[in-house]
Symmetry: C2
Subunit: 298 residues, 2 copies
């Protein structure tokens, strides 16, 4: 199946828009695993020169131009606002028959806006590769961030079946795991739970009034893991959390429901109830990881 | 300093009581790094035979006996209840001048009980190596679990300065990081925050009503990390959480205070306030990790 995906991409001309951590990783992995032609667009000439020297792109441009028209598949690796600016400025270079996908983490406030900027006939396939790592910029990009990552496709009424297939092939060629196809609403609801909420919990944990300067002497793996993502890109995440605010507020409420059960058991000294709760958590965690790993063998 | 610690332990006769994950790891690391004599006591003959075959202990016994008297330092690697039983049954083999330490994770309900079972003149140095890994039993034990781990010493009125020094040398020889010395109350308060609370948050997160069988297709690193410890030894942790119940309930309240701030910012659409909160979290996390790492170079 993955071989098929590579074969499918072989003759494609791919444009990567924005050669930062994500865009650079796309280019690196595609170069490593496929024969497609890769053109990059990034406002920094230095970044393009690095990527050319690394051999991960075939050509690079600091501005949109006629070359964009040659692309069969455009992968826009920009934040929401930068993507919208890019589309506004470069709609003239986009044409019927092209597939355009993105990597925006919250879809509710980006899909409609982007759709309205695209010329008719451009097949827009919003997507969300759940890959990433600390840091930002081309220098931090790495081909292996896609290994075993989930890659969510979030089509809308305008997305064609062919467009979905192309992005599925892309995700497979990258080495991703599950490639679920869901609505915008389902995407944002699930992401509120699996991504926004853990970031909120991690930041709230270190921001507890109990934290003090000596606490690093009393931590072990559980606290380190629970707070890893608290070292956060504050501006980016404030935007993302607010963009998914409605679903996130509901997830916070649901989380509190579960937390209340623990509190109640502690208050009552209900050892059995507490043990039951913890057992259930263990079962759920193992089932979730089993489901997650299934994608790696599909 | 670490060389000094090894030198100090060189001629000691050490008894490890309970050769499970922790006891086995103590024996393996001490064998690797010191010249001390290691005797193990464990109810399973098979475990002792394995450890003898591995060369990590010099002698092993399935029951307490006169050999216990020869030990200069006893490291009791048992749960609270098993430790109390052991002390009850073997007090007759303990003698003045011995140092006895343990690894119990919550001190409030174990120190007094243990103290009352010890013969006069046994120097009791309660401690908490913040090392560990998944699984249990000798087969899962590993010398390297102590690398960069914090090792908390929790003396009481009966603990001598010499006893504290001995356990400090032990922790250094094992390769541990910080070795703070605190009261029972401070220990249990800090552990409620750095260990009990993260375990509660991880289990509450997977036990949210939002979890369903497909969620493994929508997760990435943040959710995996946030729930790693949700796959928990339910019986053991129900006991530990209840033993530290008072401090833990306070930590849950304080955590909720921080969580409420996020909720308020979201409700108000207060981007600046949210960004400020996230920035503060990043700063705190980095400072904590800096403090944690300091211990590795001391």
């Amino acid at each position: 199946m993955r071989e098929e995906a590579k074969e499918f991409l072989k003759n494609l001309n791919i444009a990567v828009i924005g050669l930062g951590l994500m865009g650079g990783s796309f280019a690196k992995r595609l170069r490593e695993r496929t024969k497609c032609r890769i053109t990059a667009f990034d406002c920094e000439a230095e970044t393009l020169n690095k990527a050319l020297a690394d051999g991960v792109i075939d050509a690079g441009y600091t501005e949109g131009n006629e070359e964009l028209k040659k692309a069969d598949l455009l992968i826009v690796c920009l934040s929401r606002d930068n993507m919208l600016s890019f589309l506004r400025q470069n709609a003239v270079y986009l044409r019927e028959g092209q597939t355009l996908t993105d990597i925006i983490g919250i879809k509710g406030n980006s899909v409609e806006a982007a759709k309205n900027l695209l010329p008719d006939g451009v097949d827009y396939v919003p997507a969300h590769p759940m890959a990433g790592r600390e840091g930002c910029g081309y220098d931090m990009s790495r081909a292996d961030i896609f290994d075993c990552a989930n890659y969510i496709i979030v089509p809308n009424k305008r997305t064609s079946r062919k467009g979905i297939k192309i992005v599925e092939s892309l995700a497979k060629a990258l080495g991703c795991s599950h490639i679920p196809v869901v609505t915008t609403k389902e995407h944002d609801r699930r992401i509120a739970y699996t991504s926004c909420l853990p970031h909120v919990l991690a930041t709230a944990l270190v921001n507890s009034p109990s934290m003090d300067g000596r606490m690093g002497r009393f931590i072990a793996g559980s606290f380190k893991d629970a707070t890893r993502v608290a070292d956060i890109n504050a501006a980016l995440w404030a935007r993302l959390l607010l963009a998914d605010k409605k679903a996130l507020l509901q997830e916070i409420d649901r989380f509190k429901e579960a937390l209340d059960k623990v509190e109640e058991s502690l208050l009552q000294g209900d050892k059995e109830g507490l043990e039951e709760f913890l057992k259930e958590a263990g079962t759920r965690r193992r089932e979730m990881i089993r489901e997650y790993r299934k994608g790696q063998h599909e």
